[in-house]
Symmetry: D2
Subunit: 372 residues, 4 copies
């Protein structure tokens, strides 16, 4: 066993003076073994969601003490645009400050990618081994990413960021995108076909999402492979390989905690061990885990502007009809309209709430995983 | 003729103290005639795009001197969320500062609206006059808007703003949404079926857009009627009524000019006169007008960060291969890399460019209407 | 006893549409007694510092159950400019988003005010009773405020806000300006001559400040009276009356808690009872209180950019040399420079720390009250 | 003559990932001559004020073709904090987005610096040549800057930026700080003792400022030398050396124009030639120049919120009583209050106006140099 850690600074951005601003990319592998498998982990594409970077810090240490059955590519603080964007005392790293484009909604996905691949290789595809098919489709996807970034008319900033990150991730068999919520408990988004396996992360709440594309990296990673399998199935070819991808939500934004990061990393290592990507990890004791379908993961938008006291906190169980928040209206401090109660519309678990007491009509007050 | 001007303050927002912030709604009609037709005009849903409000100011005066064949509903400064949002010396009224949601992308449209209407009225629909059909479908759409705003779990702030504005616009037969570009020449978005008629506005550049929905008010206004006509056509019923809707781009943001607003209003009045909504307007001399299909209206995104000198200005004709901008890189001031030239990828008309010299990779440098 | 609560909406701002945005002003008094004394309490001039508004809500209720020896003027959410200014998911209500002017640094104070008053009334001043002197100087200060707001060339937005609020406060004998810190424990700024009396508020940490003006309301309230007393003393007239004024810091920003607001209000009521402004309040059990001179209340600015884990929290005692924070540098995750430790430069109490893990060089990491 | 251009990247900032962000520093000198004199020129400390960087680009070329009697230190885009801070489509590089601290108000100046220098060298100072005195006081000031940056408790971000830039400028005999206004004509701030000499820059409007410190680099550069001369004068020592320093305002922000930059650079070269710092420059034809005392350079703050049409533009002469702007109020579009006229309070020249039509009460509408 001979584990190496390589570090590279990938230039991604320049500021207006012309200075290059890049992202550190760490590659960890056992140089004594050929790595046929790759794991890609990035953090903080929403720049204020920093806990994932602390987890990557812990993983870099811990992976070096384990037996590695894959090459690991780790990219902390992967958004050089967002991480310099201050707004008052906080970091507005959630969307492009110029356009409003969410940094996590412009990854590349095109249904035509799988279609053109199958069409171009119609005669040979049946003769390829699964390994060859996987390798050739990855190469095909990589070309599509390059073509996109190289377009004569260019791409927008979020597309540029997202597509460039995807070029780093496109060879991976497992993709983890580390995020946090606003004031949030830990939860994980897993595609339906991985919802059960996701339990190995040892995170209390799993949100099981359908295989479709709404712009995020996890979706962009697994959806083309499901597309490909369907097209092949129509040709009578069975193809079971899938890229595995998860969005992991590690608590609250604007915060890091190294002690908790150690805990978070143990969950990741447990998953890696269970799916055979590392060996030698001692394991963790699994907590009780709830899985909620995306359709039952609901957002409660405020119907009132005012100052909000959040009575139900992230992680709390709430019952339908329960008062979960109070909105204070300072123009009515002398009468009974001073307080408006916010009622839980269903029974379930509070996954997150808005991080400020100051809300307007339409503010995303709570996200609740409803009991099925 | 007895023209009345009514003013109403429609509450739409509260600030966190509880104070209501509303929008002024002006209604102008000839009270001596029953108004079977309605025209809806709003401005500044992107709050820094103020010139449309100056145009509404001029229209309110001018309409009172004409013969009116419709009721006019005019809503200047229609975005009470955006118009208080300052960012340095400018107004960031383009998107929700909390979420990045573009204030012009969350209007309500659902293909199911026309479907449910036809299904619910299957037996009677063939017996209705066009007028009755129009009136009943408007009422149906209005109910859908109300249902959306009243959802138990609420809607987000942009949806709340957009849907509330649509409730004001839903009875209109003509909808004008007044915008501006960044550093921009005047242009107008017209649905294909109105591209020719749009010439009456006397605006040099028309962008002809397909009938489909990407979130804006004009699309949300006419698309359901095209849906309805298609469904009726499948049932053998011909239905030619369409709501007419346009997005009008009145030059550059962060600016008002009353002299130019007078000119702008004359184009609007000319359109109204030509389609029979007013009488007694003297008309204007038409300028030369170019119509470009949306697929030929292209955005040039920057491939470099730096300080940009815009050589081609809004309204300029440019040739493929022409140097239209120069990007200055202050880290290379001592060598030939100090300046990178930006080349026009096609021949056409510059409609707008970015309003600041400071750009990053992916900044929308230019929008160009390509010669066909 | 016949307590009345009056409410008034004082217009202070307009948005660009022309809509007036005001502040609610509550006046509570015993109408059966002439009120020779006035108390002024405002909150949230830094708009995200909302807890004071919750405290005012509680005070409005509680005052009605007590015997009042003064008129109470209460102004929650007193900053209509700041309270609409969103920045990501937080409220940037700390400074004018256009100019950077801190909303709490532009109150009016001019040493010449006391000088001109003494000069103008040189002959009569010795013959006035203290009450008459107080009343006349208040009127003089009020005129100066009016003159300032009415200047031909105008005043800047922060001056306009601050001076207008001062017009509401200028008759008060006691002024409380309710604030919060970022991530903060409760503390109170008291002028040296009131540092001991400030203990009645029952807040653990008192910062004793010299009588001088740095822009805030408390300083603007008491400094002219100290000026006046000095000038009179030079003329051989003893004048002991002082306006009392405090800035009260009620925990952390972006947050309200009604339970805690009840506690906070009891401290205020205790002070009011002790200085004779109310009767009938049951009192509170005093906690242990530390007083620190302003010169010993020190800010620790970060010398490193990175992601910070705050090990010492608001309210913690720290020792000189203790590691109070760790800064994570993601470009050094593979070596020992990954973590830089932040050391307490002195022994004392952490009053507050920065609310985000994301810091740059020069970020105000901690404020520490040093043990004397 | 053997002119060399050296380039250095001075690290000044890191982003939260740990990546260093620096400023390019160009040094141009004739290596065949010992440079006893130094010129320091920086641009864009307010990051959106970019035209000065284009001027430095031109100067770097032009200086190489002249005879140099000094070493030139040129620092374009000198603010790595501000130049990444986007706010909508503009660059908010005017103040620290966290604190509101203006990036041009935290340069180091302390009256005690000259005092301690004189006191420390009381016995020897009379025996020093002027050159020695200058050299020793520069070294003294440099030490003070180093002590400040190295303080145990640190300094705030604006202090860090400003003091670091001052370390680059402290040896210079001439300091030029290149800025722009919002929508502005060219003007220059000159200390009274240089107001006449400032005409060589060939800029139409000179603002003559008293020698005192309000936070800017020009003031921080020359004030200590005036302090020193006064203290020496009290000891009977005549000392006429002064650091020369100017703030040059090169038109409007958010914009660069290379053609105009060429013109701007000719003015700078003309000054350099006239004061003997270069030779061989052909000279320029001087325009008519007006000098205004700072007390006559007045700001007109808006008394109304609304949408403003600026009738008087930068560079225009206006007469007292003239309507220079109109404020539109959309809540009064149906009556005579729709427009409020803004009147020039005095006769003079409009130097700049606010760059947006959207204003609030207290917005800095115009700055006018009043005719004396």
């Amino acid at each position: 066993m001979s584990i190496t850690v390589e570090k590279q600074l990938v230039t991604l951005n320049q500021d207006i003076a012309g200075q290059e601003i890049g992202i550190p990319v760490y590659r960890i592998a056992d140089s004594s073994k050929p790595a046929s498998t790759q794991v890609y982990i990035q953090s903080a594409v929403h720049a204020a969601e920093m806990q994932g970077s602390a987890v990557i810090f812990k993983l870099i240490k811990q992976l070096q003490a384990l037996e590695l059955n894959a090459e690991f590519v780790l990219v902390p603080n992967c958004n050089p645009f967002g991480r310099t964007q201050r707004a008052g005392e906080y970091l507005q790293g959630r969307f492009d400050a110029t356009t409003g484009n969410n940094w996590n909604r412009f990854y590349h996905y095109d249904q035509a990618d799988a279609e053109s691949f199958v069409e171009d290789n119609l005669d040979e595809i049946a003769h390829w081994s699964e390994a060859e098919l996987v390798s050739r489709f990855k190469a095909h996807l990589k070309r599509k990413l390059t073509e996109k970034v190289d377009r004569e008319w260019g791409v927008n900033t979020a597309q540029f960021l997202n597509t460039t990150l995807q070029q780093l991730a496109v060879n991976a068999d497992l993709v983890l995108d580390l995020h946090t919520g606003p004031s949030s408990t830990r939860h994980i988004y897993a595609p339906e076909f991985l919802a059960e396996q996701a339990q190995y992360f040892n995170i209390e709440n799993i949100i099981s999402i359908p295989v479709s594309f709404a712009g995020a990296l996890d979706e962009a990673s697994f959806t083309p492979w499901v597309d490909l399998a369907e097209l092949l199935s129509q040709k009578g070819i069975e193809f079971s390989y899938r890229v595995k991808a998860f969005t992991v939500e590690l608590g609250s934004q604007e915060n890091i905690c190294l002690t908790q990061a150690k805990q978070d990393s143990l969950g990741v290592l447990n998953y890696l061990q269970q799916v055979g990507l590392v060996d030698g990890f001692a394991g963790v004791e699994l907590t009780e885990i709830t899985t909620t379908l995306l359709k039952d993961y609901k957002t409660l938008f405020s119907k009132h502007a005012g100052m909000v006291e959040y009575l139900a906190k992230a992680g709390d169980k709430v019952n339908k009809g329960q008062v979960i928040a109070r909105v204070l209206n300072s123009l009515e401090f002398d009468n009974d309209s001073a307080i408006t109660e916010v009622i839980a519309p269903a029974t379930g678990t509070v996954i997150l709430h808005y991080p400020s007491a100051a809300v307007q009509v339409g503010t995303q007050l709570y996200k609740i995983a409803i009991d099925s």
